[in-house]
Subunit: 364 residues, 2 copies
Amino acid sequence: MEIYEKRVKKVQEKMRQDGVDYLLLGPSSNMFYFSGLRTWADERLQLLIIPASGLPAAVLPAMYGEKARGVIAGRFPLFVWEDRQDPLEQVRELISARDGLRVAVDDNLWSSHLIGLMDILTGSSYGPASRVVDFLRKYKDEEEIALMARAGEVADRVMAGVRNEIRPGLSEKELAVFIENSFKRLADDVSFRPIVASGPNGASPHHTSGDRKFRYGDFIVVDCGGLLDGYCSDITRTFCLGKASDEMKDVYRAVNAANEEAFLAVARGCSGEEADAAARQVITGAGYGPYFTHRTGHGIGLDVHEAPYIVAGSRDKLEPGMTFSIEPGIYLQGKFGVRIEDIVAMTPLGPVRLNSFSRDLHEL
Amino acid sequence: MEIYEKRVKKVQEKMRQDGVDYLLLGPSSNMFYFSGLRTWADERLQLLIIPASGLPAAVLPAMYGEKARGVIAGRFPLFVWEDRQDPLEQVRELISARDGLRVAVDDNLWSSHLIGLMDILTGSSYGPASRVVDFLRKYKDEEEIALMARAGEVADRVMAGVRNEIRPGLSEKELAVFIENSFKRLADDVSFRPIVASGPNGASPHHTSGDRKFRYGDFIVVDCGGLLDGYCSDITRTFCLGKASDEMKDVYRAVNAANEEAFLAVARGCSGEEADAAARQVITGAGYGPYFTHRTGHGIGLDVHEAPYIVAGSRDKLEPGMTFSIEPGIYLQGKFGVRIEDIVAMTPLGPVRLNSFSRDLHEL
């Protein structure tokens, strides 16, 4: 498990540079990245404590004790607490509290846990863990890129299944269940609830798949992803059931061209915000600027959303080792939506798409 | 949507009593409880701001704008932000920051969001939202109890399906997929990932369903629940594939008797910790005390874990309107585990089990 120790050493170096005394990680992909531990968040405190130097320590509820002992395998100490105990007392003994302590806290740690920690670490200041962790996590090594590529292949296969499955009368929810089962069969799980948004529902980018049945003339936005060996895939295609109208074709063409333009910008070398601008310019040029209501993309890896973000204000260059989505969209309220998304990996030779399912208009 | 306004008024009364100035809710069942809004948590800030008096306000990313406008229907103001904007600037205008502000924060709001809020609300103090919200949410009204009962019936039906499905050679993961699909068909979704833990895996209370295939002689712990109209079910049964050994029967009997004894304690009227002690006493008396490693139960409603907790230190009485699990277990490392769980609703006439699937030993 040398990889975890290497990662801990690297983040500790960064912590010392930035003057961060402790990195407190909850149940999250950060905890997995630095320890191999994978658990689920709830009201019970779970903490991986990484000091600026020295060994980490884990504080976990008894129910994870057995599993965690196997994963940690003696690399660092584990403190297990039972439901009748207060885990903060263990934390108090592990963190030498003093005034002016600077603490980085896992971004998605529950606030109730942070509030508990603030009560015992008085006089400390807090920042999000992403500030010291992202610089590491956003550069994937070769093994990670290979895992991302495999995850992408599975997503392509699922999308091919989706293409065959779509028919009039099938409901959004039924297709979503088909997608979930496909990812569970071909990978480990979904990486997020599949979004199946048909007809006017497609105008809501994060639509919750419902009972609406597909009809001829629908655009159907399918946004889904799986989890394979810890790594996420994420792909969106928009299918047309039957023939697309001229307006539908026009919108589809604009979104597809925006996707391509962002990819070309990345190939020339650019920042996240420049890639976003490249996609946005195409859509604005086609007259649909106000209807592209979200960022162009997000980093992806152990989390389905992580650094770097392809959005205005994101000034860092997109560099080799980074993996991120390009997913422009146009949303016409009351009519339909179109989004086309691939995951792209930056390599020393330029960007590579990790999805190969055709982005052409599919009229089914 | 009068119900939401009533709930807001009640919590505002409590806030004024407790000296809490603002209640800040993220995407959660609290947000749903007070507004009807149901969204998913991620790195984008979503906030329902409830001041100690006056109208609430919501700050949501643009992707939820359309949906949220429909749900809120003009009852209170909604501020929508786009990816290129900083939502904290809107929050700053909605909360009149002053020194000594007391803020209650949703328990499962991401820490990164709380840290962002702390940066703009300097000099404020923070506590978990549960402290001002639980007193309301733990008392379900008649309609909520009826929804919980329907959710429980669905769980019983799924468990009946599980009983028929279990056979040698089926894997834990396959049974978990069967359970997920059953809940999606009969209800809206699962309320948590099903736990299917067979043979020695049963000794881990929160086992992740894996590739192990069932064999004759296995105890199989099945812990699952669904989501129906927002409300959760949660049930655990332990099945024996083939004939149970004397030790297995002995352990099963102890767990079943502990479940019954906790129920009787609740019927006599008791606190959460007394119900926990009642179950624990039976298991300790049978010689398995050290192997009952978790609390006896948890409240359940919009969240699968919520107040009241059936655990040492939980001194409040279990009163009419409360719904909670009773789920003692015994876990023998390297051998097997047994857990038996029903959801119980306290009514003015005493406790009622919301699950009716038999708790007798099932030898399949």
